[in-house]
Amino acid sequence: MRGGPNAGNDMADAALDPHAAIATTASGVATERLTTADGKPLSRALARSQRRARRRAFLLVLPLLAFIVVTFVVPIGQMLQRSFYNDGFSVNMPQVSAWFAQTERGTPPDEAAWNALAADLTASAEARTIGVVGTRINYDLPGTRSLFTSTGRQVRRGIEPPYDQALLEIDEDWGDPQLWSTMREAATPLTANFYLAAVDRTRDAQGQIQQVEERQQVYVMLFWRTFWLSGVITALTFILGFPIAHLLATLPMRKSNLLMILVLLPFWTSLLVRTTSWMVLLQQQGVVNDILVWLGVIGGGQRLQMIYNQTGTIIAMTHILLPFMILPLYSVMRTINPSYVRAARSLGATSWTAFRRIYFPQTLPGLGAGAMLVFILAVGYYITPALVGGSSGQLISNMIAMHMTDTLNWSMAAALAAILLAAVLVLYWLYDRLVGVDNLKLG
């Protein structure tokens, strides 16, 4: 026999098998304290065997869990740390940071402050970290990076006390109370300012929180637009998906399998391919406009602008996310017993009443699952809005990408990402509560 030594182990396992003990009890061998064959208390043996089974199951999952934690959970945590921790100023400007720590908010800079500032600026300019410092202040007070870099160039050539006059001579912006207030904020690496900025708030010279100027208010509007458009897309996928799912669920298996291919093919087709085809179709010189002109619906000179705006984002994303609505709806509708509707009809309900009061309520689990999935996916969409959204169809993801790659304000990107992630995780938690992640189905 193969695995000779293992056979013994299997025997021991059998002795610890809880089912064996239950069999013993059932057959009526009643002792005061149940024990296993080798005389140990049964409850302890059972606990041990269950512990072992749990450990075995957990060991199977452990490699993947470790992999996901290291390559996914921790990196995201690290990234989010940047949203409230930025030591670009405090590390490179230690003396003036110390002065800020000792004085009250609103203290006008005294001689000690100017001395510390001049010393830090000189040291930082020598170490060529002045750009980092300027960038950090620039995040909170746009347009100040050049103040730091140009002052850095000058102080490297030498600077004489009294430093307040010397620095003000280089640039009178050094006397700006707003600048000093911003530097005070940046002197501690922990900051909530990026979150304030992410909701269009800033601090004035006195450190009071206030709204930013109207033309700079972008983020709150973008968050609202993201949620609003995701809601619209979810509603559209529901309107389009419901009839299809119903048809597929009520047709005979052979026909519905055939039609299912029409739903699954878009699902399996590359996202970029689908986005590209919408770009081709909806262009001003594209197929849809051509057909409309040919039909005489619109004149040749008034071709519709259907892409590079919100319309483009909505159309393309509705198409892309539609299968995620149809599949959960379909799997729920498949289980609905048609005799309930027939019973309602036989009791005198019109077809509309039977649908509204009997059929529709039974589809709600599928509707909830599909709607939440579509909404969660839509909120975080990046590629499609970036390609077809123009400027009015951009979502918050595109702003995060812009801060990552263009403005390089990584702390701001992290703060926006943290807010978006919080929203998605709340929805995900709800989804898990109401639907259960193990009920997620693909195709």
């Binding site: 869990l65 990046y382 990402a417 978006l420």
Partner: protein
């Protein structure tokens, strides 16, 4: 689904209207994918049907965009025969991209499938502790917006050892960003939820007593797994793997953030093409990808049926 005999005339009208609406929605779903196929054979650099194409004049159609996929990036596109093909194999941008996509796709699928299947086996045991929470974590790469994942990965893969500074160590172990290994690991992370979902769904119908039977007949755990469990769940594992492969094959955001110029993949090449100057060559690629997805879809459907048959699950 026929109209019941007791339906009123109004209901009959509604029934046919409903079928028409469904047909229109199916058209909306499928037309955008189908329409690019003829357009990719356009002889003109336009994204619309020319008069010649509409009158089915062969002169309106050509393979020039497919040829341009090969010649783009070639050193000597006018050569013929063997020289042409070896040049294309070595230098053409799209061929390089396809090679990269396949290398990255295959290896990330292997990682995702092996780890994912093991975990799914553990997760579907009834005694698994913290099952729900762990499952939620393992599925989260599918739920978390890709841009957030990619941003996190960008920092992590640039300096993977930064993690250890938390424990007071300051080692340096190079970069994973801009390497094949980095992209493969990133794509494996993104593919894992699909493997988990597909394989756990297969295991729901799995009869655990088969394992006990094998054990009682003297098979050790490894033999039990490879001779009893594996053959039964194999269709699910393969379709999970295909999902992971497609995820990698279609992924562009993580590639944009962590791949270097060496790891140019098909989606990234498409992304560049679409952002800069969109040409019908993109449609030729898109057509090839649509054919590819039709093949994959067919495979997955066949596997699903086979899986249902061998597990004795009758399709509902």
């Amino acid at each position: 689904m026929a109209v019941p005999t007791y339906a009123s005339p109004l209901e009959r009208v509604w029934h046919y209207t409903y079928l028409a609406i469904c047909a229109a929605i199916f058209f909306f779903l499928i037309a955008p994918i189908i329409v690019i196929i003829p357009l990719s054979f356009n002889v003109e650099p336009y994204f619309t049907f020319t008069d010649k194409m509409l009158s089915l004049d062969p002169e309106g159609y050509s393979l020039r965009w497919y040829r341009s996929l090969l010649t783009f990036g070639m050193q000597n596109p006018d050569s013929a025969g063997w020289a042409f093909w070896s040049d294309a194999w070595a230098n053409a941008k799209w061929v390089q991209a396809a090679k990269n996509s396949i290398i990255i796709g295959v290896f990330s699928t292997l990682v995702a499938t092996v780890l994912g299947t093991l975990a799914a086996l553990g997760l579907s045991r009834p005694e698994m502790p913290f099952r729900r929470a762990i499952m939620a974590i393992l599925i989260s790469p599918m739920i978390v917006p890709l841009i957030i994942t990619a941003t996190g990965m960008f920092f992590f893969y640039s300096n993977p050892c930064e993690l250890l500074t938390f424990f007071g160590l300051s080692p340096s172990c190079g970069r994973l960003a801009g390497t094949y290994l980095g992209v493969i690991l990133a794509h494996a992370t993104l593919g894992i939820p699909f493997v988990i979902i597909t394989v756990t769904a297969t295991l729901v119908g799995f009869d655990q007593s088969l394992n006990r039977a094998a054990a009682s007949l003297g098979a050790n755990p490894r033999t039990t797994f490879f001779r009893v469990t594996m053959p039964l769940i194999l269709p699910g594992v393969i379709s999970g793997g295909l999902f992971a492969f497609v995820t990698s094959f279609d992924e562009v955001v993580a590639v944009l953030f962590i791949a270097g110029p060496e790891q140019q993949t098909i989606p990234r090449q498409m992304w560049n093409g679409i952002r800069e100057q969109i040409s019908p060559a993109i449609l030729a690629v898109a057509t090839l990808l649509v054919i590819f997805s039709i093949l994959l879809l067919t495979t997955v459907e066949l596997l699903r049926r086979r899986s249902e048959r061998i597990r004795g699950v009758t399709p509902r």
